[in-house]
Each structure stands twice: as structure tokens, then as C-alpha cells.
Amino acid sequence: MSSEKRKIAYIDGKPYEISANHTSILKFVKSYVGEKKVPTLCDDPNLAPYGACRVCSVEVALQKDGPTKVVASCHTPVAENQHIFTSNENLQNLRKNIVELVLTDHPMECGTCEVNNNCELQDVANDLGISDHRYNSPKQHKGIPKDTSHDYMRMNLDNCINCGRCVRACDEIQGSFVLTMSGRGFESRITTDNDMMFGDSSCVSCGACAHTCPTDAISDVFQSKSAAVDKKGKNYMFLLWSWV
């Protein structure tokens, strides 16, 4: 038993105890008030905090009624006596505006998309009540040919939101360096090796990229991310992946 004093932080006014596995505000909040309280897109609990999507932003005050600051909860440590606010008008507007920006460069063809009803972007957008954007003729990356060269994996970068989860899974989980982001800024995009086709790349078919991808940008020939596919088969696929 630990002799250390219990440490408390507050979520939306209520006190909760900080434990050793609460390595970020996000983990702290999720463990007490549920997975969906704070939306996320680039976060995967199996990967190191990355801080790209910013939709997990929360407000934090260092004392009760103190001035608040917006921070990304996924990479901000939780600290004693912190007052964390998971939702208010400013935060919702921030999240909506970010997701709106994501939708400016997204095909918006959910109805015909393989991962319809099993898509993290769709979920987050729906929860925030965002279905469209207000920007005038934004340049899009639409029309990138689907890469079907791989025996098992499928890449459809039109649906990519540049969250970098696949790149990190390839590196952090599989220890391969097959996937990378290339280019810079608005022109950055996912690629394999030295801009190889997926099937010609050094990919070892572990499936970690497809598993973590929040959209349909990377999937597999078994359509295992499709909400329509038999659940049993889907679990079987994930089991297989964990063996590779």
C-alpha cells in the first residue's frame, strides 16, 4: 500500500483521485467520465501522445475559479488540484471549427464509404453536429488513386485526415519504418518507403495501420473495418494481426 498522500484533481467541478496510470489529462478524464466525454482523432491509447488533431482540447485552471487555459488533453499531464473543464461553449466552438476544417478536405461520401457507421471522424463530426463546412472552394486532395497493389492492405488517401496514427503504429507497434508522412504543411501526405506502391513496399502486412486508422484511408481486403461485416470475422482478423 502506498503511503503517499492521495492526489485529487477536478473534472467539471467534481473531485477524482489521480493514479499512476493517469499519464495525461485525457487518460484521467476517460477513466472517470467515459470515453466519449472528450473527442479525439489522432489519439490511440496504444501509441505515444502526439497532439495533432487538437479536438481533445480542454480548459484547465490551476485553482478553483482561477484563470483557464486551453490545452490539448492528450499530452498535458494531470496535476494535483487542477480544475479540468471538458466542455463549454468555447471548447465546443473550437472543436467544431477544427472538425469543419477537416471536412474541407474530405470527400464527404459517407453513404458509399466502407467504414460508414464505424468511422471515428464520422462519430466526432456527428457528436459535434457538423456535417458541412463554410469555406469557399477550398483546394482538396481529392482524386488520389486508390492503391490496391497490396495483397492484404488497401490505401485510399482521399479519406486520409493526416492524423499520423498509421505511421506511428508502423514505427511504435511493429518497429517497421514503412509508412511515413512526406512533404510539408498542406501538401503533406502519407506514403510508403520512397513513394512506393503499397504492394511493392517493405510492408510486412501486420495490419496495425489499418487497425488504428480512424477512417477508411487504410483498410484491408477483408473489409474488416466495415460495420456491415460479420463481427465474428472481424474479431478473428484482429486476433490474426496480433499474432503476426
Partner: protein, 551 residues
Amino acid sequence: MSKNISNLSGRIGLKDNLFKKMSENVLNNSPRDIKEIAKEYNLGVSTIHGAESFYEFLRPSHREKKAFVCNGSACMCAGTQDKLKETLKSKLGNDKVGEMFCLGHCYENHAFHYDGENYAGKDIENIDQILNGEVIKQEKFFSKSYATTSFLMDDKLSTAEQFKEQLNKFLKKDKKEIVKSLLDSNLTGRGGAGFPTGMKWDFCSKAKGDKKYVICNADEGDSGAFSDRYLLEDQPLKVIFGMVICGLVIGSDEGVLYIRGEYPKSIEAINGCINELKKLNLLGENILGTDFSFDLGICIGQGAYICGEETALIASIEGRRAEVDVRPPFPVTEGLYKKPTVVNNVETLAAATGILINGAEKFSSIGNKKSAGTKLVCLDSFFNNPGVYEINMGTPMKKIFNEIGGGYKESVKAFQIGGPLGGVVPLKEIDNLNLDFQEFSSKGFMLGHASVVSIPKDFPMTEYIHHLFEFSAEESCGKCFPGRLGSYRGKEMFDQAKKKTAKIPLKLLNELLVTMQKGCLCALCGAIPTPIMNILKYFGDEMKSDMVKDN
């Protein structure tokens, strides 16, 4: 942030760092297959490819060109670049002239880069000699100290002999005393974030690590600023001395200066100094017969403004894509190759040297606790006396502009102070400001590097905002969503306004700015709204016809 890449790249380390290896390979006439490099470092081909593709200078589209016209804010406001571009195109061919962001010649403009050298001012008149490979006589920037005590511009450390004398003195000093001096001086980081330098060194000295590093951030990309360039070229020993003493204090035996490739003369000056000091055993193994060893190298930036951000800079050296990392961990505990690292700006290191030589009290007695000592201020070509000046913190801006700068050559309406991320201060507000970090921030501006770009009266502010969005869209690392997408959408809005194809939706613009300000991962896309909001506040009337009310 990839720990795997950091650690694998760290096995080979700084001397043969992956960034240098990959950039030299790309720029080589007969490059090796990147598979070979990947194999040497035990990394993937994708690692090398992903990083290479990040840098402007390593792209084929850049390397095909021969000359590069400066597209920094100061040259843009001076209106000298269109004609310059035409002249260069007529000499070299239409497709042979590209652009580079700020070559640090804001005091004379007409700046361009050709064959590894920068030219500006009247140099273009000698274009034929330049193209013939002849060395032409170039004018230098004007520099002068107006400070009570000069810490940055004096000649107390301008020879290797003086360097040796001072080093001898400090090698015998208690390290704690050195840290105390810095703490007492109230020196804060001059790179923009303003963290107390003494605290940074203290944290790093206490951090556990079998290896530690000192990095000098010489990636001065802020348009309007040439103060780091001044120090690197005219006071290189002050910068290097600061790094050596930092190494001594934190227990590091290796450091690196990350100098932007847009500054060839700075690279040359520092390189010359390092070689000289090595010969004299003032750098290297067992310096002056003591058990302290400290080696120093240079990394040459390849055209990415974001590398001025410390975590991106570290990523760059390691050979990762120069994307901003989350903090914590902070570099003082987990920096280069995951080892404790001090990253200091050029001026911070030179100021630390000045403080150690002249005494902390003299520094802290100038200005106030949060804005102490002296600061280099750069004035652009709109001033009658353009140049770089050392000035007491707390000095009224009016005095700096009218007396030191000698007033303006032509009518100006505003100044962007502190680089592209600094505030846009209208002329009338200058009377109410002093050279003080907090004072600038409290009025909604940002002193930053204290560089001044003048915006002439007839320069359309819509165009200036377009320039700022274009800059952030071009230079955004692309990692965070609001930064990558927001800066690009902002640019598009002003593209459309410029072409008169659509008006700017004011409400959406304001929402976008707040989203970027609150949401972005770092100060590039997170601070670009500051000058834009300033312009909307002070010059909104001027832009009315470009705007439309949306709901």
C-alpha cells in the same frame, strides 16, 4: 515523435548526424541510394524520404533554380523585388529564379541569393560580375550600441587571445556561481519564449543523463531580424563562448550550432572560428589541460522556418521530419537523441557571455526584472538610419525610432515588430510603448526578436494579411490540424479577395483566427493570428470593401 528514430539516429550521434548526411547526399552531384543511408542508421527508407521531402532546399523544384529572390516582409514592403526578379529572369531564364524567405538584408532590400552567396542593396548593378563568379565589394549593415553597458557589441571577446583569457578564468569558477550570475542577471531567452536562461541551465545541469548537448538555435528566420546574423558574423566568439560555458555548467561535451542555410556568411564565420579555436585547444579534448572537453559542430538548415522551434530543430538534427513535438518532455530532460539538452538562441548565448564578463548586476540594473538588460533591435530600410542597435530595455520606442533610427524616409502607417508572428503596431501606438516584453504583450503585440518591418502608407493591408497567411501556409510543419488546414484556408480567403473572386467572410475569418490561436500546437500557426487580429482591429476600415458580413 518517434523514440525509435531518435534512439537509432543517436547511436551514430551528432558528429555524423543523419540530417547532415541526408542533406549532403541530396545536394551531391552523384547521390547515393537512400537505402544505403537507411541501412547505416538502421532506419527505414521512408524515414529518410519523409525527412528529405520536408525541406525546401532539398526539393528538385528548388534545386533546378539558380537564383532566389528574398520574399521576406521587409523586401516586400520596400517593393524592390518585382524588378529584381525580372532582371534575374532576363539573365538566367524564366524558370531559373525562385524565392527564399528573408535573407536578413532588411536594411537595404533588393536581396537575392545566387550560387551560395547573398546579395542585396546595389549589388544587382554588378550582376554581370556576379554571374561571372567575380567577388564584388558588398556593403555591410550598420551597427552601434546605445546601451549604458554594452554586453553584445563591445570588443571584449573579439580575439582568440581574449577567449583564452576568459575561458581560463571561468574554467576555475564554481559552476553554481555561474548559474547564480545568470539567475541574478534576470536574462530571459531572446528567441521569443522568454524563459529565464539561468533556470534552463540549472534544470539541465541537474537532469540525469550519460550524455548532454548544447544547441545554439541560429535558425533566425524572422523577417526584419538580422541581429543573430550580426552576432554570428561580427561577434562569433561571444556566441561560442556562451555555448562552451553552458557545456561546462550542465556537464556536456558536445554542442551544435543550427544555422539557417540562408545565411552563408554566418556559416563561414562560425566555421572559421571553430577551426581556429580547435587549433588552439580552446575547443576539443581536455581544453587548456583541464579534464573538460567540449566539441562543436554546425548543422546547416535546408529551408524550413519551423526549425527555429526547439523541438522541430531537435527533430531536424536527428533526421526526423522537422515537426513540432509535444511538451513535456522538455528538451532540458529529453532533448537531442533523448538526452538532456539546452537549446538557446544566438542572442541569449551572446548575452550570457556579456553578463559573465561584465557582471550580472550591470545587466539587471537596466530595465526591469522581466525585461532586463539590453536587446538588439533591427531597423529596416524605411528608417533614415537602418541597422542593428544594442538598446537598453525600457527605452521608449519613440526614441528608438525617431532618434536612433532618425525617423522615416517616407510615410509609414504601421510596423510589424518581432517577425511574422509579432504584432502589427500602428504608428500612433509607438508613442505609448517602451522596449519591454510584457508591455508589448499586454497591449496585444509581441516584442519577440525586436525586429522592425515598416509598412508604408500606401501598402494595402489585405495584401499584408495575405502575405502572413501565405507564409504560415508555406512554413507550417503540417502536423497539427488547425495549423495545417487553417493557415491554408486563410491563405485561400485572401487569395480570393486579392483576385476579387470572393470577399472575405468576416465571421468565419474571426472564428478561424481564434481556432488557430487557441488550438495550434506551436507558436507558428498559433501566433500568426496576432498580427492579423491587430490589422483587423486597427486597419479594419481600410479593408471594408474586401469584407462581407456572414452569419
